[in-house]
């Protein structure tokens, strides 16, 4: 294993030190990443967090028009309640705080504990559960939160920036999640620095379908195929769950180890697929936004836009990983 680390144990803190040094708009304190300027009175605060290894999610989305704070845990491990509590108190401008939580048992438990312990702050919570590879049933922990997290953080963050009250910000966050679906495919596993070798073995001629974002194996394996066919597998799964229609916001996301050149090949197939169903890709994002360390592969996230969501997506944003209009 060759990793650009000093030691696996110090990886997260070393990376946060680098983030703070690279982005003067951020302040890092006890594993909480905050906007340097602090909370704005009357503005709803947005806090998210989760395991590290998904960069730029979440810390790369802290800044104007998006998150107020991010709580990075160890690699692929939810943050602890203390981090979330500190973040929640630090960003409260008196209008309450929205927790954006990806649906994993650990994330849910730690954010719940933090919200209960922060009884001096009004906290609302939105659960992101967009991954159609997992059936939401009694037999699973429910759908995973994956790519739609970026949409929820951007859109809810824009509304919060406009000064909307907590209930409204929570509503638009829920609405964004309800209208979004994702599906991921891996060409390779990933290597966590602590384990030192790939989490699973994937033969050269096979891909994993329905992966999450923690290097965990997917639902099934399938023979390797051209980008058009792999894109169609993802889009069939999404379209089968939430039919594609109207204006779409589409993200083709690399898993951390995929060349952008290949992601654009996938995007072309995704766009053609949507057009074939009579929908229109109105907004797009192509790149590495919700990654799984060094995994190769891609995920597609689709959101069926309405006028409000389109307007909020277009609103100015200035974070390390997303910035436009300002």
């Amino acid at each position: 294993m060759k990793k650009l680390i000093n030691a696996a144990e110090s990886l997260v803190d070393d990376a946060l030190t680098g983030m703070a040094a690279a982005h003067p708009g951020l302040r890092v304190r006890d594993r909480v990443v905050l906007r340097a300027e602090g909370p704005r009175p009357g503005k709803v605060g947005l806090v998210s967090g989760g395991g590290s290894g998904h960069e730029p999610l979440h810390a790369g989305f802290v800044g104007y028009g998006m998150l107020d704070a991010a709580c990075p845990g160890e690699v692929f491990t939810s943050p602890v309640p203390d981090q979330v509590m500190e973040a929640t108190r630090a960003v409260d401008g008196g209008a309450g705080v929205l927790h954006v939580v990806k649906n994993y048992t650990g994330d849910v438990l730690n954010f719940e504990m933090a919200a209960e312990l922060c009884d001096d702050v009004t906290v609302a919570s939105v659960l992101v559960e967009d991954d159609v590879a997992v059936q939401d049933s009694l037999y699973t922990a429910g759908r995973r939160g994956t790519g739609a997290t970026v949409f929820v953080e951007k859109i809810a963050g824009a509304l919060a920036e406009e000064g909307a009250p907590l209930a409204e910000v929570a509503r638009v966050a829920e609405e964004t999640g309800r209208r979004s679906r994702s599906f991921g495919i891996a060409l390779t596993s990933c290597t966590t620095p602590a384990a030192g070798r790939p989490t699973f073995d994937l033969p050269a001629g096979e891909v994993e379908l329905g992966i999450g974002i923690h290097g965990e194996p997917g639902r099934t394996r399938a023979p390797f195929a051209p980008a058009r066919e792999l894109a169609a597998v993802a889009m069939d799964a999404i379209h089968g769950d939430l039919p594609l229609e109207g204006d779409l916001l589409v993200m083709v996301n690399g898993m951390g180890g995929t060349p952008l050149l290949e992601l654009y090949v996938v995007f072309a197939e995704v766009e053609a697929y949507a057009r074939g169903k009579g929908a229109r890709v109105a907004r797009s994002l192509v790149g590495n936004y919700v990654t799984s360390l060094d995994m190769q592969g891609f995920s597609v996230t689709v959101c069926r836009l309405d006028d409000e969501l389109t307007r909020l997506w277009d609103a100015p944003v200035e974070t390390p990983a997303l910035r436009w209009g300002r």
Partner: protein
């Protein structure tokens, strides 16, 4: 809500886990079936030194089996279970060294709080709540240094397991920690009812947990990260059940160590 859930677990769930025979109020002293037995320190029950030894033995075993736990997790999860628990239990040992507990309840509550605050993921809140709940169940306000009866410990252990069930929304057969912890709780309660010795009670609990962990191999996961794999989770031992079995097994090594010492 966490507190409310925990209190509920104390009030109702303990009975479920323990069966009808669990003996009365905890800390009832020498009246329990095994009350006269001395495991550690000569105090007529399980004393603070025993619980510290339990946590030390658990930490040691988790450190030794760290890579195996992480490998189990790599098969059906995200390859960090051993690393995370080892980090958490190392912190528990440090906390116990920095502030030596004055009672069994303090030892367990300190361990629980440390795991909740330091581990993250799902295992931090779940194991943390289990230990905290056990500690609360034993916290009868007695003078520091008072040992607890095996019956009280069996009841507290059952309450801890119920806390995990509630928080994780998991039941037996879901391929989780519960598949090792619940049989251990039942075995403890049964041996107490049968009036068997403390050593035998802990040994049976350890065997039940180990059998329970092995029994997760053919199961399909319905909770936790392995549930995302559906049928592909079959054929692998659940890492949470495996670590639970190690922690329960540490009860027996702790007993022999403190009794010998």
């Amino acid at each position: 809500m966490m507190n409310a859930a925990s209190d509920d677990a104390m009030g109702t769930g303990a009975d479920d886990a323990m069966g009808a025979g669990a003996d009365g109020p905890m800390g009832s002293g020498a009246d329990g079936p095994m009350g006269a037995e001395t495991v550690a320190g000569g105090g007529g029950g399980l004393d603070t030194a025993f619980f510290v030894a339990w946590l030390e033995e658990a930490a040691g075993e988790i450190a030794r089996q760290r890579d195996r736990l992480t490998e189990l997790d790599a098969a059906i999860g995200d390859a960090d279970h051993g690393t995370n628990l080892d980090r958490g239990f190392s912190e528990v040992l440090r906390a116990l060294r920095e502030t030596p507990p004055a009672s069994p309840a303090q030892a367990l509550m300190a361990a629980g709080a440390t795991l909740i605050r330091r581990v993250g993921g799902a295992s931090g809140p779940l194991y943390g709540s289990a230990f905290r709940q056990m500690g609360k169940a034993l916290d009868s306000g007695e003078a520091p240094g008072t040992a607890v009866t095996p019956a009280a410990f069996a009841e507290a252990f059952g309450a801890g397991v119920v806390a995990v069930e509630r928080l994780g929304k998991a039941a037996a057969g879901d391929k989780t920690m519960i598949d090792a912890l619940a049989p251990a709780a039942r075995a403890l309660a049964q041996t107490v009812r049968d009036g068997l010795g403390t050593g035998e009670a802990l040994a049976r609990a350890a065997r039940a947990a180990a059998d329970g962990a092995r029994a997760t191999v053919p199961m399909t996961a319905r909770r936790g990260r392995a549930s995302y794999l559906g049928e592909r989770s079959v054929g692998h031992e659940d890492p949470g059940a495996a670590s639970s079995a190690l922690i329960v097994a540490a009860l027996t090594t702790a007993a022999s160590r403190t009794a010998a010492g």
